[in-house]
């Protein structure tokens, strides 16, 4: 990410376009493509990076014109936010951009996914993250443990926030860690599992941090995990379902995602370890009767993910996928509750961590 002033970057972008227009050229913006065809897996660094394929978008091209306009509109919104030193959520930006173009029945954007995409494009074009452009995502996820931070002048103790824990904001760059007392971080994809561990005072007993999201791991969480790893050298363990989506959630934290490959360096933690359910666990703890039947879409996704550069040579994972197919099943973390409500806190996790029973 560029360290320059984002306001200046946006102005430069605008000037470039106006310059093209003044020269009588069809205005054009180019930026790196962000689809699978332009994703490179850096085997050495073990992260996903963007390739060198560039796409361009020109205004006088029917297929591009709306997206071109959306990108410039989003740039204008961001420009205003930066000038006024305010932050807006993705949803706010959507509403600022959403309107009907006069004299037409065309809406500049119809759905939030369109403005979200335009914002991602702007990130690529300017080299600034959306947080730097004063655009924030919804906060998502919670954390608890023996950590004290300072956020906007407030001191917050993650161990004294009741049953909810601290909500993780989308921008964590400016958070200062005052005191960190933990041996590792346990990250889980399920809020319900986090609540179980929190109630069982797992973090207190095992001197760790517990962190969760609901589904996809947001950028805020990924960056927070990375900072804890980089600044305090805390090992990160991921607790996910035994299915293809759990595996992918893990891989996003470890290697990065296709969509955000340009920001991999700021978000990924190559040393992260998976301690979610494995087929060995299913046998060991006799969970065979607590599995869920796979769907066709699951099988298709397994096929896709197995072919990704960053999976295709990973024997441990391929073995897990193979077993999923063979057993035609998947397992949720909560399946462990079959062995008792606190089985996960009292038995499963301590054993796994003690035995270093991870998948890389």
């Amino acid at each position: 990410m560029v360290k320059e002033d984002p306001k200046k970057t946006i102005k430069v972008l605008g000037d470039k376009i106006v310059d093209q227009i003044n020269k009588g050229k069809n205005p054009e913006i180019s930026f790196p493509l962000r689809n699978l065809s332009n994703i490179v897996y850096d085997k050495k660094a073990r992260i996903l990076k963007l390739g060198d394929k560039y796409g361009s978008r020109s205004f006088f091209n029917v297929a591009h014109t709306k997206k071109f306009l959306q990108t410039i509109e989003v740039a204008k919104v961001s420009n205003d936010l930066l000038k006024e030193e305010k932050h807006a959520s993705l949803r706010d930006v959507f509403y600022q951009v959403k309107r009907t173009i006069p004299g037409t029945k065309v809406n500049l954007v119809d759905e939030q996914t369109e403005s979200d995409k335009a914002i991602e494009d702007l990130e690529l074009i300017t080299g600034h993250s959306r947080e730097q452009l004063n655009i924030t995502a919804n906060k998502n996820g919670a954390v608890a443990g023996r950590v004290i931070i300072e956020d906007k002048g407030d001191e917050i103790d993650w161990s004294k926030l009741g049953s909810g824990g601290w909500s993780i904001p989308s921008a964590v760059e400016n958070i200062k860690f005052k005191k960190v007392n933990a041996k590792y971080v346990l990250y889980m994809e399920k809020a319900a599992v986090w609540e179980r561990l929190h109630e069982d005072k797992f973090w207190e007993k095992h001197n760790c941090l517990i962190m969760s999201s609901q589904g996809q791991t947001t950028r805020g969480i990924r960056r927070l995990l990375q900072r804890l790893y980089e600044e305090y050298n805390l090992p990160i363990y991921v607790l996910a379902d035994w299915d293809i989506y759990g595996a992918y959630i893990y891989s996003v934290i470890k290697y990065g995602s296709i969509n955000l490959a340009y920001a991999s360096e700021k978000l990924t933690i190559p040393s992260v370890r998976y301690l979610g359910i494995t087929y060995q666990d299913i046998e060991k703890y006799g969970l065979q009767k607590h599995l869920i039947r796979m769907k066709d879409t699951d099988k298709d996704r397994i096929k896709q993910v197995s072919a990704y550069e960053w999976f295709k040579d990973n024997k441990a994972w391929l073995k897990q996928f193979e077993m999923m197919k063979k057993m035609d099943s998947k397992a949720e973390i909560q399946a462990l509750s079959a062995r008792g409500i606190s089985f996960i806190s009292d038995e499963y996790l301590p054993t796994k961590i003690k035995e270093q029973d991870f998948i890389d």
Partner: protein, 557 residues
């Protein structure tokens, strides 16, 4: 005995039933025959009767004028004399009719009807003008008035005629020589009849418009009962090709006709009869027919019995005979169809195709199709099919007609026109379909619909498809042009938006950015139009295509 009544009532003598019946059978008069069969002759109701009378007179007139190789000028007057009674007057600039023939042509049923000649002519429709004369006589008791002049320095012949319904002979009520001032040659006929005058569909006006479309070389003037005059102007100075008379081809002959031909022939031997009275029969072919039929080539035609004739009839099918010549046909022609449609239908695109002739059952056929698209034509209605047989419009029984069915069975969606299953397509289209032949197969004696013979429908579909493909190119090109226009409109709307945002980001003046963007759009637009025109050159086959006024205006703009 009165002419027009059955004689049975007037002769009540003691007779056997057989005698009585025999007499009755014999004495069925022409009038009764006519009354019983009026639906076959086009006189089933007062409205149709009036139309048929006009139709017969106009068809005869155009045929007559064309035979003289001059451009037809036809005048049609319809006047209401008393309620439900009309005087129909049709005048032409034809060659006129010699004195002796006038009574036979107008006041004798089936006279001179084309029994022994095969020639594509309009007058094959219905039973002819004499039926209209008879109908007028039966419904009003009035005689039909005819004046005809055969040359500039001649006196005109004036007749008032009745048709004797007992013996089917003309009765001359009045004859005189008259001066016909200002007329070099031509014929005028006036029939008074019961009828009903109505405008709109199936009207005289529709008939005349359809006639004007298929005969753009004719000028037609129509004066309605209201006194309003419509002129259908001439749009082509070129006469259509004159149809040639041909002898029948053996493959197309029917047994009954064969028997009649044998009894009427002037030839003295069977071999000579076959060669002289048929087309495409060489001496070798005649010999082969006689041999295969086991008949002496020198037998006298009149001496052959029914079994012999049957043998000849069956044998003909087994002998290979060259197809008949097709130059006997006179299509309307692509150019004339285009001119006819363009002058009567206001559209933006016209195209026409005439297929090469084909032979079916020993008879040459030719089909043609033309189409008008867009302009004033209604967009949301079923397309209009106008049908012609030997250049004469077919107005009734559209659904039963092979021409309509062929249009219906064409997959119009392939040509960018919407169509529900089993229906005519929907769109701004008038499609004209013409079948020309010396023998048009009709579904019934009323000759209102072409019978659905598979081979004929196949040819009709082919010509409709050809026209459809030409339409498709135009429609697609137009859609492309419309798409381009939509793009331009879109960019025009987007430009101020982009200019506003860029102005806010950069601090440049919005107006200046907008102005520059509009300049670029103009430049881009020029390239787009070149692109469209390139499509036009590549895809559009411009033969037999004309554009309406609107389209030309748009292209220049």
């Amino acid at each position: 005995m009165a002419q027009t009544t059955l004689s049975g009532d007037s002769q009540k003598k003691e007779k056997t039933t057989a005698d009585f019946l025999a007499e009755k059978q014999q004495s069925i008069s022409i009038s009764e025959f006519f009354t019983k069969n009026r639906h076959l002759l086009g006189f089933d109701n007062p409205r149709k009767a009036l139309l048929t009378a006009v139709k017969e007179a106009v068809d005869n007139s155009i045929d007559a004028v064309e035979e003289m190789k001059v451009l037809p000028e036809i005048k049609v007057f319809v006047e209401e004399t008393t309620p439900d009674r009309f005087k129909v007057t049709v005048e032409d600039n034809g060659p006129g009719i010699v004195k002796a023939q006038i009574p036979n042509i107008f006041a004798k049923l089936l006279y001179g009807s084309k029994f022994h000649r095969l020639k594509q002519s309009r007058g094959q429709q219905g039973i002819g003008i004499s039926a209209a004369v008879l109908y007028g006589q039966l419904t009003t008791g009035k005689s039909t008035k005819i004046i005809s002049k055969i040359g500039p320095n001649q006196k005109a012949h004036y007749y008032e005629l009745h048709l004797n319904t007992k013996n089917n002979e003309p009765e001359i009520i009045k004859y005189e020589e008259r001066d016909w001032e200002g007329k070099d040659h031509g014929t005028k006929v006036q029939i008074e009849l019961e009828g009903k005058y109505q405008e709109g569909r199936l009207s005289i006006e529709e008939f005349l418009q359809l006639t004007a479309i298929s005969n753009p070389h004719a000028q037609i003037i129509f004066k309605r009962p209201s006194g309003d005059v419509t002129e259908y102007p001439r749009a082509s100075e070129e006469l259509p090709k004159e149809p040639k008379e041909i002898k029948p081809h053996p493959y197309g002959i029917e047994l009954g006709i064969l028997m009649k031909m044998l009894s009427d022939t002037k030839s003295h031997t069977l071999s000579a009869f076959l060669q002289d009275d048929f087309s495409r029969v060489s001496s070798a072919v005649a010999k082969e027919i006689c041999e295969k039929a086991n008949l002496n080539a020198n037998s006298k035609p009149k001496n052959l019995n029914r079994d012999d004739v049957e043998k000849i009839f069956q044998t003909i099918k087994l002998v290979k005979i060259m197809s008949p010549q097709t130059d006997c046909l006179s299509p309307i022609g692509e150019d004339r169809m285009l001119k006819g449609l363009k002058k009567e239908i206001n559209a933006e695109f016209y195209t026409a195709v005439t297929r090469p002739p084909f032979v079916y059952r020993g008879n040459p056929f030719q089909v043609e199709c033309a189409l008008a698209f867009g302009g004033d034509l209604p967009k949301e209605e079923l397309i209009r099919v106008i049908r012609y047989a030997n250049k004469v419009p077919l107005q009734h029984q559209s659904g039963a007609c092979a021409l309509t069915k062929s249009v219906m069975q064409t997959a119009w969606k392939n040509y960018g026109i919407s169509q529900s299953k089993g229906a005519l397509p929907v769109g701004p289209i008038v499609i004209m379909v013409h079948i020309a032949s010396v023998w048009v197969p009709f579904t019934s004696e009323s000759k209102e619909a072409v019978a659905s013979y598979e081979d004929i429908m196949k040819e009709v579909k082919l010509v409709v498809q050809e026209v459809g493909r030409k339409l498709a190119l135009y429609v697609r090109k137009n859609i492309k042009a419309k798409e381009q226009q939509d793009r331009v409109n879109l960019f025009e709307k987007y430009i101020p938006e982009l200019a506003t945002s860029l102005s806010e980001i950069t601090g440049n003046k919005k107006e200046k950015i907008q102005e520059e963007l509009e300049k670029i759009l103009k430049k881009e637009l020029k390239e787009m139009l070149e692109e469209v025109n390139k499509h036009k050159d590549v895809e559009m086959d411009e033969t037999n295509v004309v554009y309406g006024e609107k389209q030309e205006g748009l292209e220049n703009g």
